[in-house]
Amino acid sequence: MEMQKVTVTLTNRVGLHARPAALFVQTAARFRSNVTVRSLTRGTPPVNAKAILSVMTLGAEQGHELELVAEGPDESEAIAALKELIESRFGEE
């Protein structure tokens, strides 16, 4: 099995908490693959992208770089969906 990895920059204003964090986690949970996320900016270890509290504790603010890794049957789709969500600024602005 391959593994999908991508680096994205958080551009929405409030960062990864409240509604953006909820949307992020709900999107990750739609896929069967294991998905992790870590903050390159803050140098955190990877955390479960389907766990909202773990995602919030990344403290990801506007401008931070995140690395997403997915592994499983639908890993490409999972990465594509999360990348699009982040790049669309969670539809907030």
């Binding site: 409030v14 960062g15 908490h17 409240a18 509604r19 964090a21 909820a22 986690v25 709900q26 955390v47 479960n48 389907k50 766990a51 909202i52 509290l53 773990s54 919030m56 504790t57 403290g59 603010e61 602005e93």
Partner: protein, 578 residues
Amino acid sequence: MDGQRVPGLPASPGIAVGPAWWYRHGEVRVVHRAGEDPEVERARLRRAREESAAELDALIAAQRDRLAPEELAIFEAQRLMLDDPDLLARVEESIEGGASAEAAWEEGIQAVAAQLRALPDPYFQARAADVVDVGQRVLRRLLGVSEVAELPERPVVVLAEDLTPSDTATLDPDRVLALATVGGGPTSHAAILARRLGIPAVVGAGAALGGVAEGTVLVVDGDTGELIVSPSVEEQAGAEARRQVWLAARAAAGEVAAEPAVTRDGHRVEIAANVGSLEDARAAVRLGAEGVGLLRTEFLYLDRATAPDEEEQLAVYRALLGALGGRPVVVRTLDAGGDKPLPYLPLEPQPNPFLGVRAIRLARRHPELLRVQLRAILRTGYPAVRVMFPMVATVEEIRWLRGLFEEVRQGLEAAGTGLPRDLQIGMMVEIPSAAVLADRFAPWVDFFSIGTNDLAQYALAADRTNPAVAELADAFHPAVLRLIRMVVEAGHAAGRWVGVCGELAGEPLAAPLLVGLGVDELSMAPVAIPAVKAAIRRWTLAEARSLAEQALRLDSASAVRDLVRAATPPVVPGEDGG
């Protein structure tokens, strides 16, 4: 401690008197740390989580339309926290090790909250309270503690340490006269809730409030932020009287807020809002603004290392304009420099920033900065955009600005960009030279908007940031009113409309003067709109004109105020706006 005055922070306007009632959401404490059979503890936790989830779902469904978007987002996030797989794995592990469900759950919640509190961004730190709040919801279920004591039948002044989002969603507003909290600030949940419900609130009153006994009579003044504990008979009567006036004014203004401002004899004045953020834009629409008379753009430029590029500006303008539903919007180009320096445009130190390089004087030194901004504004394609230049002192300046604007417009047209259909160009009048020479400026613009704060400080040579002389820079001064009249007369003679966007426009007392002077549009802070509309509706145009004529012949700002106060028709509660 009769009549003890306790200072706090004003969080929601209005005034109320009533008995104190302590809101104790009684933080739930865990006593039994050791569990029964892990199987039993797991089942207890599952049930408590399921019940809490149902509670939150019901709360979200019932209050979707009542809650502010940021509050709704918190509940939705809390709903997901209940099912967080990492948290559950950690809690399961403790239960397996012999802990009770409540001890394991509390420990898991506190660990996450501690991690959030350790983050550098205060916004993330504040989320720790949301995590603890949802944790408490589950603990109450586990321990069979009811959520909160029932509010008494008779309305009370609710006192609390601070309020969580869950607390604020469950308080029955009909039984709450006012809110006062020991902690919290103007953006705390208690403050947001109080403003939305329109009840007076004071927050951050500190330990002095903590000592107030249940049932003590309290005056809560949400305008000044002051509390009076056990007021004297006179203090109580005074507060009651002010409450009646406030209630009457609120009822009258609220009912007709969306209606236009029309004098008793049918003269209509356009009421617009001053806006500096998306929040403001939403508030403006809600409070009955017919347009935006001043969109400040400084927020895009301040506190950053480099200037915002065209695409970033375009995105921000589009989001903001999107909230305004096609209403006309006056966008003021960057008014920085001097007292608002930009790190990426270093200026030599200026002994007198208000008389130095600022606004378009800065733009003339850095025309590219203005060009980028104009391109972003025009590219929004928003139908009714008015571009306004600040701090124009000479005709030569407005000719240069007009030339630069036309160059940008033609460039975009040549590139096939769709431009606003109803585009106007205007200038602020805040320097006396522009007011006196308004007829010479008129051919170059579609409108004038008078900035009364600066006009007053320049006309009276009084720096409004210097407390020793700030009082002199009073826009009610007859000298300022005469300058306003000159601009209106010159503007109207040339077929231009004239607005006022300084603080004077948001003063109900000034409304009849400005209407009487012939001003076409008043633009103000959104919260001032209902009161100013109500003020305009009390007068006829003929009365307002005669009042303005008298004011122009007075000697001082205080004489002008006295004149308006004495001449204002009395308000009879319930008849206003009828």
